[in-house]
């Protein structure tokens, strides 16, 4: 295991990870009684590689989204970066500290919110948990009072402070959870699925708070989410992982722009009189007289529209951007840029020339993440 030295990646970098790997050993149990007995006497294990060589750098103040399907290795990576899990190999520095060895010192300077876990005492009002957390972070009591006032105002949770947590709605609770995690003014905050299960309005509120925190307190935000809306509205940079590897590391703008050069046309005919006009068009889906086509922006749209109008009488037509959700979904299923570049799927929206400013291919080992501030152009 190589070790990184503080300052190696520049003073502006708060997270550096090099070739991070995590292997879990899971006991396997085959079915049947004899197998159960056998596994008692001689247990068998299978190794599962949850994180498979992740390298990345995060500059201070960045809002970075870590995306991936379930089991991609997102939470495992967060757990390694926060010192909860030790890496099997590779090296990392968070705020100049080694999370595996300096977990306690690091914990004073980072905060975390795990969407499905609570750090508030269930039966007590949030104020009690805030006071306890203040003591845990060894904050001076006057400073703590001041900080609580600040946060209560920022998060608009004044009226919730004396209601037992179990009586709060999920949205109210999440606001309090989030508030609790920044009491000690962390420099980096790790948010694992912060908007999971929340309704649209509360989601917006939480997103607003995340943006304010990033702007006003210059907090670096490291976020994992399934919600593409979170990424679109919040983040400047998106890192997409699947099967424990980074398949794309790009600015959110570049990610969208690459795909925005393409449009989707939904068209519905009353009748099709000239089928030859439809030949050669990139039809994604067709059902009776309705079809969905993909087309290049610019001249492509005009040409295709003309051909469609000549093909028959049109009842309805919609031209839209490719949804962000679809873009990300394609990146997962196409296993990275290989799939995107080859564009072999007729039922896929995947484009041909992704304009990304960063790309890591951990498989070949040729690509290395060159995080600078280039990702910061989004917000």
């Amino acid at each position: 295991m190589t070790t990184l030295r503080d300052g190696e990646a520049g003073n502006n970098t708060v997270i550096v990870a090099r070739d991070l790997r995590k292997v879990f050993r899971t006991k396997i149990k085959k079915e049947g009684f004899t197998q159960s007995v056998k596994s008692l006497v001689k247990p068998e294990y299978r190794e599962i590689e949850a994180v498979h060589g992740i390298s990345l750098e995060v500059p201070r103040g960045e809002l970075i989204a870590f995306l991936g399907p379930n089991g991609a290795g997102k939470s495992t990576t967060i757990k390694m970066l926060t010192g909860i899990l030790n890496a099997t190999s590779g090296s990392m520095l968070v705020l100049g500290l080694d999370p595996g060895k300096q977990r306690k010192s690091l914990s004073f300077r980072i905060g975390s919110v795990f969407g499905q876990k609570s750090q508030l005492w269930f039966h007590l009002p949030p104020m009690d948990s805030f006071r306890l957390l203040g003591a845990i972070y060894e904050m001076d009591s006057k400073l703590l009072d001041k900080r609580i006032d600040e946060i209560v105002e920022l998060f608009e949770i004044g009226e919730l402070m004396d209601i037992p947590v179990r009586k709060l709605s999920l949205g109210q609770r999440m606001r309090c959870e989030f508030a609790a995690s920044i009491l000690h003014k962390p420099e980096i905050i790790f948010l694992d699925e912060p908007t999971i299960g929340l309704d649209v309005l509360v989601k917006q509120k939480i997103r607003e708070l995340i943006t304010r925190l990033n702007k006003e307190e210059k907090t670096t935000i490291f976020l994992t989410s399934h919600d593409i809306g979170d990424v679109e509205h919040l983040c400047s940079r998106a890192v997409i992982i699947n099967h424990g590897k980074i398949v794309m590391d790009s600015s959110v703008k570049a990610l969208k722009y690459g795909y925005l050069k393409k449009k989707v046309i939904d068209v519905k005919f009353a009748a099709i009189s000239n089928h030859t006009m439809l030949e050669g068009l990139n039809i994604l889906k067709r059902k009776g007289l309705s079809m969905k086509l993909e087309v290049d922006e610019g001249d492509g749209i005009q040409e295709v529209m003309l051909r469609l109008m000549q093909a028959g009488s049109i009842v309805d037509v919609t031209i839209s951007d490719i949804p962000m959700e679809k873009i990300i979904g394609d990146i997962y299923t196409d296993k990275g840029l290989e799939g995107i570049n080859s564009n072999t799927h007729t039922d896929s929206y995947a484009g041909t020339d992704m304009d990304t400013d960063r790309y890591t291919d951990t498989d070949t080992g040729t690509g290395s993440t060159t995080a600078g501030n280039s990702g910061g152009e989004g917000e």
């Binding site: 995590k22 997102k74 495992t76 010192g83 909860i84 899990l85 039966h123 007590l124 009690d128 306890l132």
Partner: protein
């Protein structure tokens, strides 16, 4: 100082959090009253209301049982909470804070125990007086010794539970261990004073930790002797320290192999 303050505040928060369970308190008091009543009936039937065995009269046996049950009923939920936190992987989310996880659990457990003692003690005293009156031959000057022994009984119980709870770092189901320990402490000191057991079993029991949870304080309350105090309390302390050390050890080994599900 600030380091100490955080654990004291955990104890305080633990007390606050447990004070809300009024229904629990009522159910607990009712259970306490019921089992003592049943045992009293049992001893009265055996002794025909007078006579004694190994120096225990019905009066002393009822008080013995109250003292022993006080320790057992005032235990914390540390076994269940450790077990659940480790199995569900939730423990991971408690590790990234600047505190010692074991001390945190200990402080939280002490908060719980304090609340349970505060409710069980008056209920126990009241039941004793109502059922059989004042303890016969009570030696007031022995009370500090009984308090010390009760304290170590509770601490020993806590660390044994914490230790067994943390075996779930390795085992998929450790409730059997817990069950065995519970039954052993029931048989070796709670249900019956050790004096009622065959000599050989009594002698073995005095080497094992189980009798030092409930038997030692209950024995010292009902038939105090300096000799027994000096032989039992040091062993209580020894076992408490041993299980505290084992808990710390199993925790540090467990965290190293922590295999949190998900990701």
């Amino acid at each position: 100082m600030r380091k100490l303050r955080k654990y004291l505040l955990v104890v305080k928060t633990g007390i606050n959090s447990n004070l809300i369970y009024t229904a629990d308190f009522l159910a607990g008091a009712l259970f306490f009253a019921l089992v003592i009543f049943i045992f009293m009936q049992l001893w009265e039937a055996i002794f025909f209301n007078d006579g004694s065995m190994e120096g225990y009269t019905v009066n002393r046996l009822v008080w013995y049982y109250i003292a022993a049950e006080m320790v057992i009923l005032s235990k914390s939920d540390v076994f269940r909470s450790m077990n659940e936190e480790i199995k569900s992987g939730n423990i991971a989310y408690k590790l990234n804070k600047p505190y010692s996880f074991v001390l945190y659990q200990f402080s939280e457990g002490m908060g719980q125990i304090a609340v349970r003692l505060m409710t069980n003690l008056p209920v126990g005293l009241l039941l004793g007086f109502l059922y059989v009156g004042k303890l016969e031959g009570l030696n007031i000057s022995a009370l500090p010794a009984v308090v010390i022994s009760t304290m170590f009984g509770i601490l020993l119980n806590f660390f044994m539970d914490a230790f067994i709870g943390m075996t779930s770092f390795w085992t998929e189901d450790n409730s059997a261990f817990y069950w065995i320990v519970q039954k052993l402490s029931f048989m070796l000191g709670l249900f019956l004073p050790l004096e009622f057991l065959p000599k050989i079993i009594r002698e073995i029991a005095l080497y094992l930790p189980f009798s030092y949870i409930a038997y030692a304080p209950a024995r010292l309350l009902t038939s105090f002797s300096m000799e027994e105090f000096l032989s039992m309390v040091p062993i209580q302390i020894l076992y408490t320290v041993l299980f505290a050390a084992l808990s710390a050890l199993i925790y540090s080994r467990g965290v190293r192999k922590l295999n949190v599900n998900g990701g």
